[in-house]
Amino acid sequence: MFKALADPTRRTILDELTRQNGQTLFEICGRLTTAHGLGSSRQAISQHLDVLEAAGLVETRREGRYKFHYINTGPLQYIVERWLGRPSGPERP
């Protein structure tokens, strides 16, 4: 998951899915190009989406003949639980 998040283009893809969830590859590419000036090829974006999907951060759903991409923030919850819980012991001075 950290590898997936390490790439700025992949983080931008997640930003855009936060703005509008459930996008086709075409719409994601259009938003990256016009809103962020990212000139990556469609194939490159498709590969970024594969990495995000392998990390569980993006889910794809087929609706009829269309394929939409959705953000899944579930895996991020583990990070929150691991380090952002209130630590025991004395407060920081």
Binding site: Q23, T24, F26, E27, G30, T34
Partner: protein, 129 residues
């Protein structure tokens, strides 16, 4: 050089004619019987001397996988100019048209993507002044 004809591959010419005229608002220009198929074109009533859109039968074996792959990735086959994407989106939604991309600002243009019910995705766009 000018563009006088471009085409979309349609699964069913009669169904396509209805969609492109009754729903999208184009007008039939040529309708010539050609065996099982027709030389079937439509034009925009706003530009009757403009390019014809040929509703080309998609019976060639290469066409089906090509169209399916484009549709899966949301890639529109053609783009049509409208005065205002949002109002056209509302009008077409009211007629039961399925959109797979709602109106979005894409740099200098506003675009939306609809399903033409004949196996294609079509983009509509306008450039705000």
């Amino acid at each position: 050089m000018r563009i006088n004809l471009t085409s979309v591959f349609v699964d069913d010419q009669e169904k396509a004619l209805r969609f492109y005229t009754d729903i999208l608002g184009f007008e039939k220009m040529h309708d010539v019987p050609l065996g099982e198929d027709r030389w079937l074109t439509v034009v925009s009533p706003k530009d009757p001397g403009g390019p014809n859109l040929l509703l080309e039968p998609s019976s060639h074996p290469a066409v089906k996988p090509f169209k399916e792959a484009l549709v899966a990735d949301g890639i529109p086959f053609a783009s049509f100019d409208v005065d205002d994407v949002k109002s056209e989106y509302d009008r077409l939604r009211g007629l039961g048209v399925r959109f797979i991309q709602e109106p979005v600002e894409m740099g200098p243009v506003v675009t939306a993507v609809l399903d033409d019910t004949c196996g294609n995705l079509i983009q509509i766009a306008h450039r705000p002044i």
